[in-house]
Every structure is written in structure tokens, then in C-alpha cells.
Amino acid sequence: MAALPPMARAAAPRGFKDRLAVRAVQLGFLAAILLLWYLMTANGAINPLLLPPFTGVVRQFLRVVAAGDFIADLRTTVYELLMALAIALVCGGTVGYLTSRTRFRIRVFDPLLSGLYSVPGIVIYPLYVLFFGLGPPSKIAIGATIAFFPVALSTMTAFGTVDPVLVRAAKSMGASDWQLFRYVLLPAAFPLIVTGVRMGIIIAFLAIIGSETIASLSGLGHQIVTFAESMNMTVMFAYIVFVILIALLLNGFVSSLEARAQRR
């Protein structure tokens, strides 16, 4: 009992040097893309209407940030995204949990939800514009609809595949229904649910930016289309940088949540 078993060593986190190497290569990759952009646009080899110069975009981005022009549109898009996610989490989580409770329901709803998930949800966006108008509500509706499916499916699978031995053990020790949910089912299901939420966030963001470019009054997607139509490519790219930054932030946040959930 003195020495740790082999598993303990295998489960220990990888070395600092190893992680540093991974990060270095990742940053190098990004730097190479930016460098390529810079080189391709520096001497006017590419028409700046198609790809504006890197330095111009950086300058424009800093100007937009300093002037605060972006705030209203950023707020609109982030608001739409958060509302859509809140709705998708509540509805998808509830539907997923309720369907997971019997084998029969899983057999009925799994193919239904998976089938609908494979439909490009954006096809109903024109309908949502008719229902909810051109403002944020139609974006929230499309984002929520699209994010609902991965959340519901992963929640259903997560709760439906909890190891029955854990449930029997908890029951044998006297767990009430609430305790079983709170201390066994929820923690057991959590990692897989987070994976579904991550998918939901990514595709909801895609749908919201996409629908803003199709028909909208404001938002980052709206601005990108407006600047593109007025051939103002440098500013358009500055707004694209915002979208990229939000996407990276979101992904980083959810990945860390996922990594924490799956650590064990």
C-alpha cells in the first residue's frame, strides 16, 4: 500500500514542457496565417477590395474600439446569443431529462430529435421573421431552436446512460428521489450535457450571426453586411475580428467547463 498504483501515475497531468510545446505550435500557426495575410496584402498584390491590408484592418479595428461604435451592435448580438442559449438550456434540458426516464421514450424520441437536428434550422428563419419581425426576437428564436437539439439529445443520452450500479448503490443506502438526482444522476450526466451545450453554443452563434446578415436591423452580422455592401472592406474586416474574438472567448469558456467536468 506504500507506492501509488500505476493508474495514479497515468492519471497525473502531463508535463509543463509538453503543454508549453503544444501552445507554442498553436500560436505559431496563428502567427503564420497573420503573416501570410500581411505579406499578401503589403505590396498590393491582392486587390484591397477583396482582401484589405492587414495593417489597415488593425488600425481600423483599434479606431472602432476607441470610438465605441461597435458597442450597440456587440450588445445586440451577445444579448441575442445569451437569450437563445437560456431558452435552449431550459427547454432542451427539460425535454432531454424527461425523455431519458424510460427506455420507451428514448426509443420514440431519439430518432425524432436526431432527425430534426440534421435539418438545417435556418430554413425556418423567414418564418420567424414573419412571426417576430426584423429585430432581436427572430434571432433569439432561431438560435434557441437550433441549439435546442444538441442540448436535448446530449441531456437525454447523458441521463439515459448513467451506470445503473451507481443508482442501485445510492438506493441501497437510502437515497431519496431528490438526492438521487442531485448527488448521482446530475453529476454523472454533467460531462456529456456540457458537450451538448458546447455544440449548442457554437451553432447558435453561427445561426444568429448568419440570420443577422440575412435580415436584421442591428447586430454584428448586420454591420458586416452593411459595410460589405458599401464596399467598406477594412471596417467590415474589423467587425469580423469581433466575431472571431467572441467565438474564441466562448469556445475557451466552454472548453474549460468541459475539461473540468470530464477531469475524472
Partner: protein
């Protein structure tokens, strides 16, 4: 029925149980008219061929399953649901919560059982001490070997301080050397803890080494074929295994089981199937 039975811990009367719907041709009769009495403070092993219903019987004693006919009584009371105050259950493997530390796993059992919060820490640490894993309180199950995990599961069961401990092949997934050592430890623990233990096993050696009485199950549908008394005080020493007495008892157990194992294997062969349903 309760009159003579201050020393009776568990009583099973005329239990019949089947699996499958009544109109399903694959329905199997798992237990047929099973009777047994377990005395307070003894260690009983259930042994029998695969599928003979010994784990089913254990689940009924634990209140996780209700018999179709007949009754199970603990201390004279009819069992209809788990009785966490009286009965702790230890499973073969994988019953530790992987997201919780060793200490939290043990405490969670007490949370479910309803132990006061102030007592949980001390009782959990004491139980860990008993199984020799006091230094591993903040480890996660994935960081432990199979034998250590089962020690934690045992600590969790002990921390519940029940009179009865049900063990469903608790060492079944471990290698032989580890299970022998754990068997010795268990025998030592028992001689101090004064618990009634029902232990399901496939291992002849384990049954003879641990049990005060071995209940030999028949092939499916399960019933008690014979009861073998092992008159050897606890804690049992490794030297017991090399004794003539141990070997005679093991041989006797093997001859009792052999015929049932054959029957059970014949039944599994396609075409030879008896009318089990």
C-alpha cells in the same frame, strides 16, 4: 414466526420469483420455493452455478427487488424496500461515484442514510482507517487499484454502521492474490464488528475460507441444495488454507456443486433446454 427468533437476523420463506412477462416464452423461473434462515452475527456465503439466483436472493434481502411470492423478513419485519439503517450493500465493482473523492464517496453514503453532518467526517475517516486507506482520503476512484476501490466500497458500507452487510461478489473482479488478502482482512474485521454478513461468491476457496455456513444453491430455478458448516473461529489465518480440514471442506463443496454446474451448463446448450419457463 418472530417468537423463537431473537437470534434470527434474516428469514426467507417460500420465495418464488421469475423474470420476464408472464406471456413471454423466454420467461425464466429464477427462484423456486426458497427457504433459508440466517442467524445474527454469522457470515453466510451463497454459492451456486451462474444464473442460479443467488444475486437475485441477495437483492431481495437488500430490498432492491420484491419477490413475486413468499416473503423476506429482517428482524421479524417484512422487507418491501431498502432498509439503509439496518442493511448495507456492497457491489462487485464500479459502485463508487467517480466524480467524488474517496472521503466524499463514504460521506455521501451517510448523507443518503441520514447521518448528522457533524458525525460524517469522523465516521468516514474511522472507516478508512479500518480498511487501511487513511492516506487516500482525497484521491479519486480512478487513481486507485481495483483492490483499493473495493476497500473503499467496504469502508463506505462499514461507515453506515448497519447490523447486516450484503456483499455481491465483492472481490469477484480482483486477481486471486488480492482477493485472498482482502478475505483475510474481512475475516479479521468481522471477528471484531459482530455483523451479520451475506456474501455471494463463485469461489469455492473463498466460501470455505470466509463462511460460518455455506449455502449451496441448485441450478436454476434456485433453491437451497445443502448447507455446509465451517467450524473454524474468526479471524481465520492463512494457515487455515493449507490445513487438511480446509481441503476436505473444499472438496465436499465441490462435489455438492459439481452436479449443479453440469445441469446449469446443459441447460445453456441449445436444444437440450429443459422446460424452464
Amino acid at each position: 414466526m418472530t417468537g423463537s427468533a431473537t437470534d434470527t437476523a434474516i428469514e426467507v420463506r417460500d420465495v418464488v420469483h421469475s423474470f420476464g412477462e408472464s406471456d413471454d416464452p423466454r420467461r425464466v423461473l429464477a427462484l423456486n420455493n426458497l427457504n433459508l434462515t440466517i442467524r445474527r452475527g454469522e457470515l453466510v456465503c451463497f454459492i451456486g452455478p451462474s444464473g442460479c439466483g443467488k444475486s437475485t436472493m441477495l437483492n431481495m434481502i437488500g430490498g432492491l427487488l420484491t419477490p413475486a411470492e413468499g416473503e423476506v423478513r429482517i428482524g421479524g419485519d417484512l422487507v418491501t424496500a431498502p432498509r439503509p439503517r439496518q442493511v448495507a450493500y456492497m457491489f462487485q465493482e464500479g459502485a463508487l461515484f467517480p466524480w467524488a473523492t474517496v472521503l466524499d464517496n463514504i460521506k455521501l453514503g451517510m448523507v443518503f442514510q441520514g447521518v448528522a453532518k457533524s458525525e460524517q467526517q469522523d465516521r468516514a475517516l474511522a472507516a478508512l482507517q479500518t480498511v487501511g486507506l487513511a492516506d487516500f482520503a482525497s484521491h479519486y476512484p480512478s487513481q486507485l487499484s481495483g483492490g483499493m476501490k473495493q476497500r473503499v466500497a467496504l469502508a463506505r458500507a462499514l461507515s453506515l454502521q448497519t447490523d447486516i452487510l450484503l456483499m455481491d461478489e465483492p472481490f469477484g473482479a480482483l486477481d486471486e492474490q488480492t482477493r485472498m488478502v482482502l478475505g483475510e482482512d474481512l475475516s479479521g474485521l468481522l471477528s471484531r464488528a459482530n455483523k451479520t454478513i451475506v456474501f455471494v461468491t463463485h469461489s469455492l476457496g473463498e466460501a470455505v475460507f470466509l463462511a460460518d455456513r455455506v449455502f449451496v444453491f441448485t441450478a436454476r430455478p434456485g433453491a437451497i441444495k445443502a448447507i455446509l458448516e465451517i467450524e473454524e473461529p474468526h479471524p481465520r489465518k492463512p494457515s487455515f488454507i493449507t490445513s487438511g480440514k480446509y481441503n476436505e471442506l473444499r472438496t465436499e463443496l465441490y462435489s455438492l456443486l459439481h452436479e449443479e454446474i453440469r445441469k446449469s451448463m446443459d441447460e445453456q446448450r441449445p436444444g437440450v433446454t429443459a422446460s424452464a419457463g
